[in-house]
């Protein structure tokens, strides 16, 4: 009995130490990425290429999702608001939900699934096929050549994608609220204009999606770089990217929101 308890405790301890260790090597990897970023900025075409692969290629899924999220928001919002006779505020509701929360968060979750997994799988396979080793042996740092451009591409793409998400979401909400339900067109836009604050809402939303960009891209890159160089290792790493990115996004969102609302 006692031995079972102690071995269970030891198991928990091992796993904990393992987590802490991985977190530490992740942090070190992050610092290296920042250090080598200078080298990668000199080869800007690499970053631009990655913006195309991570950002532009994620556009369709993100814009389509945004459109539907906006439409659903308007439907649900109207349903509740009209009970209190304030259905004119529908524009504010849609815009604030998108700009403050859904834009950054849903974009980050979709980004993790669409671009993050691709990054992890690509880097993991490059490692498994010794491409990263070969680069090292050619005196080219894989962090400068492979990791840093992808990192900056993700960090730049995320806020832009989130902004487009909010924009298309508002458009979707508008189409449902004004032409379909018949809310007054002028009220929809003027209420929105009056109640969405540049500093408190828009800038905070951008800050959030910037932080999510750093977190999601870094997790995807680290999981790929750290993956055991086998087919199984890469597939597990890809799964971990989605799980860890999603948890990180939701956790960070809660923390940032509590600071932003408190302030």
């Amino acid at each position: 009995m006692l031995s079972k308890v102690s071995s269970a405790l030891r198991g928990i301890g091992h796993r904990l130490i393992d987590r802490v260790w991985r977190f530490g090597s992740g942090a070190r990897f992050f610092v290296y990425t920042l250090i080598y970023s200078g080298e990668s900025f000199r080869r800007l075409h690499l970053t631009i290429r990655e913006i195309y692969f991570t950002g532009v290629m994620s556009l369709i899924i993100i814009l389509v999702s945004a459109f539907f999220v906006g439409m659903v928001l308007a439907l649900q919002g109207y349903n509740t608001l009209q009970k209190y006779g304030s259905s004119d505020a529908i524009g504010v509701l849609v815009a604030l939900s998108l700009v403050r929360e859904l834009g950054p968060v849903v974009t980050a979750l979709l980004f993790a699934g669409r671009a993050g997994t691709a990054i992890t799988a690509e880097i993991g396979l490059m490692k498994a096929t010794e491409q990263l080793s070969a680069m090292e042996m050619m005196a080219v740092s894989p962090i400068a050549r492979v990791v840093a451009p992808r990192f900056w591409a993700g960090v730049i793409s995320m806020p832009l994608l989130a902004a487009m998400f909010s924009m298309v979401g508002v458009l979707g909400g508008y189409l449902v609220a004004v032409p379909l339900i018949g809310v007054d067109n002028g009220a929809f836009w003027s209420q929105m204009q009056a109640n969405v604050d540049w500093r408190v809402d828009v800038v905070n939303g951008v800050i959030k999606s910037f932080v999510f960009g750093v977190a999601c891209t870094m997790i995807a890159l680290f999981e790929g770089f750290d993956a055991p160089p086998t087919a199984e290792g890469v597939s597990r790493a890809t799964t971990r990217t989605v799980v860890n990115s999603s948890l990180a996004v939701l956790g960070l969102d809660f923390i940032m929101t509590s600071f932003m609302i408190g302030a």
Binding site: L125, M126, S133, M137, M138, A139, V140
Partner: protein, 269 residues
């Protein structure tokens, strides 16, 4: 400047505590082709990684051009690596770049040459391996042997002083085999380089190498010129050179007694 471009001095190394190399001494003279032979899993690839500074020795040291490899900082290590070209066991071509761009990669990374000169260099290297016509293919469109030759062109793109070949002959047909064999020798002499050839193919290695090291059980079992080794009466060398099954070299990875292992049944693990 010493006569030996690479010196391996009492080198020990092990993964996870199990020592793979137990005090290896080798020295590679400039301009020579040196073959390192040994059974599968005897740590030949690992040895090349130690020379390239991708692993740190447990004891001892590797000197490349007079510098201790594992004492270098990153900058020093990269300077040393620019003198080396390595052909990986499976090619390790960049799958997102074409054959042309793969060979151009080290040139673009380390020089600011204009595109016309990059092109000339790439064409020369591809011509040397007989694949000038394949320049627009992607690595996935190549056979294993072709991929290895492209990787060779990439490894020699910047005319390295040391060229390391990890099993360049595996999976080649007899014709490509002798072509590659001649290529290694002629590249070595044309570039004035030193070549380190890791292989199990006794016949090919003996036909082009100037000097041969045979490693087993973590140490250099024997060394000498191919002629010396052919004549050698040592049972180990005889077994290796003539490919006999019975002899001092074990075929098995260190394991408990077979009969005991089987009798222990399923409860053992």
């Amino acid at each position: 400047m010493s006569d030996n471009i690479v010196e391996i001095d009492n080198l020990s190394f092990g993964y996870k505590g199990r020592l793979l190399h137990k005090g290896i001494n080798m020295s590679f003279a400039r301009g020579k082709v040196i073959a390192i032979m040994g059974g599968s899993g005897s740590g030949k690839t690992t040895l090349l990684r130690l020379i390239g500074g991708q692993l740190k020795p447990t004891h001892g040291k590797v000197l490349v051009d007079g510098e201790v490899v594992h004492k270098q900082n990153r900058h020093g290590l990269y300077l040393l690596r620019r003198k080396m070209g390595m052909l990986f066991q499976f090619g390790a071509l960049f799958t997102d770049l074409s054959v042309y761009e793969n060979v151009a990669f080290p040139i673009r990374e380390h020089t600011d040459l204009p595109e016309s000169i990059v092109r000339d260099l790439v064409m020369m290297k591809l011509n040397a391996v007989g694949l000038r016509g394949a320049r627009n293919l992607m690595p996935t469109e190549l056979s294993g042997g072709m991929a290895r030759r492209v990787a060779l062109a990439r490894a020699i793109a910047l005319d390295p002083a040391i060229i390391m070949y990890d099993e360049p002959f595996t999976g080649l047909d007899p014709i490509s085999m002798s072509v590659t064999c001649n290529l290694i020798r002629s590249l070595n002499d044309a570039l004035g380089a030193t070549s380190i050839l890791v292989t199990h193919d006794v016949k090919e290695a003996f036909s082009i190498a100037d000097y041969v090291y045979i490693v087993a059980n973590g140490v250099v079992e024997t060394e000498g010129t191919p002629d010396d080794l052919r004549k050698s009466e040592l049972p180990f060398v005889h077994q290796f050179v003539h490919g006999e099954v019975d002899g001092p070299v074990p075929f098995h990875y260190a394991a408990p007694d077979y009969k005991k292992d089987m009798l222990r049944g399923h409860d053992a693990e």
